[in-house]
């Protein structure tokens, strides 16, 4: 999880990476998600695609971690 927090902080400096409403509260948008996905694919060795770019998959660090686990 710490690695994911680090990626979030690098892509969206200053946001509360522990927020449960990253998308709903506008802390990250779809273009941040695109940048985030590229980093996740490299750092966690998973394959993601356009089907995975759903707001509910990126609304919190836990949701992103679940997506990573499902993609392994």
């Amino acid at each position: 999880m710490e690695k994911l927090y680090e990626i979030l902080e690098n892509i969206c400096p200053g946001i509360d990476v522990r927020s449960e409403a990253l998308v709903d509260d506008g802390l990250i948008d779809s273009f941040d998600i695109v940048a985030l996905v590229g980093e996740i694919m490299d750092e966690f060795g998973v394959e993601l695609n356009v089907d995975d770019i759903l707001p509910e998959n990126f609304n919190s660090a836990d949701a992103i971690m679940s997506l990573i686990e499902r993609s392994r």
């Binding site: 709903d24 506008g26 948008d29 779809s30 273009f31 998600i33 695109v34 940048a35 996905v37 590229g38 694919m41 490299d42 394959e47 993601l48 695609n49 356009v50 089907d51 995975d52 770019i53 759903l54």
Partner: protein, 271 residues
Amino acid sequence: MRRVTDYAEVKALTSMALRRRAVTNCIPLGDELAREVSLGSLYLDEWEGGALLAKRRGGFDVISLFVFDPTTQIPRLGSDGVCEIVFDPKGKSRADLLEGLLLACGFEPSLRRMRLTSERAADSEAPEHILTFDSAHLTAVSAFLEENFDPRLGCIPSLRVLSEELAAGCFHGISDGAGIASLIHVRGSEINHLATRRDCRGKGYAKALVQFASRNRTGKKMQVWCAEDNAAAKNTYLSCGFISDGYSSLVLQYRVGVTDETEEKSTLIHI
């Protein structure tokens, strides 16, 4: 450009684009792309430095760009096309890069839009004469949209989608003896269309419809993309509590063989 017949190809392309940190104008949704493939209306073009997906409409393509290498040039389209670049202030450099690439391959700027949002519920009662249009109004609503919006810039839904959204209660309006006087189309938390017939403008119909939509919204906030040069629409939304959230968009068009720059530009929302 070739037709995409297998959605797996789109998934592979987008996966590769995401891995390579492609610069893109907007993020297409997977279910939307899958539907386009099943309808046979999704096309793909690839070049050394990127790829584009084109959703084919009647007479033009709606373009999604994925640029891996901005030093390469986007190939010229074989048909008319529309490409919208959405960005917030921190994405201005990305937008400038894409705009430069599109201008270099023959696109021209057509429309600038700003996103307005509101978290405020309307404080006045909605007029009782606002109707919810249903499937029985398909022909009238379709004709009203075609009369009031440019098909290339106004995102007019197909008859199939229009029929589904009428059944879902997404269209509301005010009618008089001459037909639909004013109409609002709300999809989820977004106002997609708002227009008032020319002879009915200035009567407050549009504001009443926005207030109606605001009172009946299901989410925390509402949003709308408003043409920057449409003062009437902008004032209507501002008077209903909408404010700019910093997001903007630039719509560019490519027209095969057309160079007449005096052609009248259309606006997205007419009030």
